[in-house]
Assembly symmetry: C2
Homo-oligomer: 241 residues x 2
């Protein structure tokens, strides 16, 4: 019987390893899903791949699973960061969920000159990334960083990390990407809903690592743009081809 439920745990996974589940997880596994002792669960921790485990203790406030065999090795996504300016709550949640599904390695919410958000709930967004990994069969969970100023991030931008960004004010070409380096570190920057400021635009265009890319003739919402940009990148340079 193979496990249908996938669970992220922050715990080492190895043959015979017992894993205690949290109160919340116990509620889900034994209350909502009604698993009993002996039921299989797939576990992953973002480091050791996916493991088949079985319930050995099922309680209301906790329980124990025991790891048996590794069912899949850890599959790391490419070294791709997604930078985006937080928008309305539901759409920000979506961007994080989609970035995890689409195989971003790190998610960085950034404050641009035209971003309204002053703060984000990093813990809630991280939980969304975990849930997306549980749902989409991933064995890796991207880290969601805390909100930071785009300008500060660019101050210390790594010399070897290429940056793909979509500037509505300028027609870029998706084809230019193909000439960029496969296997290199990359980042995608999704502009805020109000666009970039003139200062930001100048700075980004002046960066040696920058690649302007077009996302077609229609204006896309930030969450749509995130999925579209990740698709173009994965297809041209990532693990889709």
């Amino acid at each position: 019987m193979s496990a249908k439920i996938r669970l992220y745990v922050d715990h080492p996974l190895a043959p015979g390893q017992p894993v205690a589940v949290s109160r919340e997880q116990a509620h889900y596994l034994f209350g909502v899903m009604r698993l009993d002792a002996g039921a299989p669960v797939a576990l992953f921790n973002g480091r050791d791949g996916e493991w088949c485990a079985h319930v050995t203790e099922a309680g209301k406030r906790g329980g124990t699973l025991v790891c048996e065999t590794q069912t899949r090795p850890l599959q790391m996504p490419p070294d791709l960061w997604l930078l985006f300016a937080p928008i309305k709550k539901a759409r920000t949640d979506f961007i994080v969920e989609k970035a995890a599904e689409m195989g971003a390695a790190r998610i960085l919410p950034v404050q641009t000159d035209f971003t309204n958000s002053e703060r984000i709930r990093q813990d809630r967004l991280q939980a969304h990334a975990v849930e997306a990994a549980e749902q989409c069969g991933g064995t890796f969970v991207p880290e969601v960083a805390d909100l930071q100023k785009l300008s500060r991030l660019l101050d210390t931008w790594p010399a070897d990390r290429q940056l793909m960004f979509c500037d509505e004010a300028e027609a870029g070409s998706a084809l230019r990407l193909a000439t960029g380096g496969r296997g290199k570190p990359w980042a995608i920057l999704i502009g805020p809903e109000g666009g970039f400021s003139e200062t930001e635009r100048k700075r980004l265009h002046a960066m040696e690592q920058a690649h302007v890319v077009s996302l077609g003739p229609r204006i896309l919402r930030a969450d749509t743009a995130a999925v579209a940009a990740l698709t173009l990148w994965q297809q041209a340079l990532g693990d889709w081809s």
Copy 2:
């Protein structure tokens, strides 16, 4: 002063043409947005492009705008249909919104062997497509068809319409698309969450017009898959390049 508010109206647009607004639109324009007589509004009807209009009468239950000049011609999307199996309400809404943003010409909800939905609210989905066009600066609104059985749709499938579909059970290649015909009628079929049935899979693979495409090594939710597939298509064969 250029118009910031974009409004879809089901009315012919021409120079000097008066356009009556509905009670709902009056509430939005004059109540929520507090527009007075003289305020500019951008109008489009999906046929005559985008027009600059001005408020001439603002009332609680209705009002009138007068069309002045065309500000943009009608921009038709490519002849691309999006077929998808309805899922949870919020995600179905999202698929329709994204399809309109990404430039699908027609949206067809389909019932597959593993689809749970028996019905959809066609009017609500059509309203989502209108709202997406208003938001994304489009001048065209894709028609949302009523729910129909995939098998029946395939019974009368047009001989010249190519069909791109994503089959999780088989590794396709996104590159094969490049050899398909640009400028031809196309459709994208997004599989249901439970995948296709064996009968459906056999039938789809046997179709001369079928092109199996891969959306990478991770399992994508249907709404993510819709945006990713539309991106691949627009980039390879549509109006993105």
